[in-house]
Symmetry: C2
Subunit: 157 residues, 2 copies
């Protein structure tokens, strides 16, 4: 594997990011549609996005936004790595880049929501290793038997 580079995506990266989302397997067709819509909004400046490039192609990204009406809190909306490029530290690189981005913008807290379903156990373990802790749970939020778990991470200031 060649050099791993963390950088801001540009419009030319859209197709590679869409491929990562579609191949990822964690997202439904509707979720992919919403995710790519938010990438387009991020490219227009409405969200913050960071990508991770391997051999010249973006293979993952994370998308964040300031939490309205808060002083220093941000939401982490998506994090996705192409499955052919898993287990090489790309998600960790994205998570560190997210922390840096939030801190550089004066933020000190990252909140994210994820599913409590068993299929998301690996994602939850990743967030916990990255320093997130569960701070709330909405029972049956997504569907019956599919809770929303709210995670939060406080960054050093």
């Amino acid at each position: 594997m060649g050099a791993v580079i963390v950088r801001a995506p540009v419009a030319a990266d859209r197709a590679a990011l869409l491929e990562a989302l579609e191949r990822c397997g964690a997202f439904s067709a509707l979720e992919v549609e919403i995710a790519i819509g938010m990438i387009d909004e991020a490219l227009a400046g409405d969200y913050s996005v960071v990508g991770v490039e391997v051999d010249g192609v973006l293979r993952g990204y994370t998308l964040l936004g300031r939490a309205t009406l808060t002083e220093r809190s941000w939401y982490l909306y998506w994090i996705c790595v192409h499955p052919a490029y898993e287990r090489r530290g790309l998600a960790q690189a994205l998570q560190r880049a997210a922390d840096d981005l939030v801190q550089a913008a004066g933020g000190d807290k990252i909140v994210l929501e994820t599913s409590g379903r068993s299929g998301y156990a690996r994602s939850r373990a990743f967030y916990e290793r990255a320093g997130f802790a569960e701070t709330g749970r909405i029972r049956d939020f997504y569907a019956a038997g599919d809770d929303c778990i709210i995670y939060c991470k406080t960054l050093p200031t």
Copy 2:
């Protein structure tokens, strides 16, 4: 006090709703700006909104929206009653109208976020009387010492 009517707001009600928001006292200038922007989006069909009218003028409203990617969950974003019309059951009427609206749309869960500050104790007591229970808390979310409390209410199906 004349007849209390629960009805959908129209564009001509915008000024009365803005007055209720500004006079309410619970909202900062930025919050009022966001709230009126969401009313404009609701009038355009992007959110659901219900108003409560006294003597021909809307004196309060509540604004809700489907929670994306959920089967039956809704967010309650705002509920506001003009302070000169408090303690007459308008907020309760709006809360019941919100429940009805969500149920009529096939929903069975309403989630809202509010501040843990002491100034919001009356709001929290109102939500708890209306059947909401705390399901999460993000410490220092809005600012240092200002937690976000997540409330949820499950409607009978």
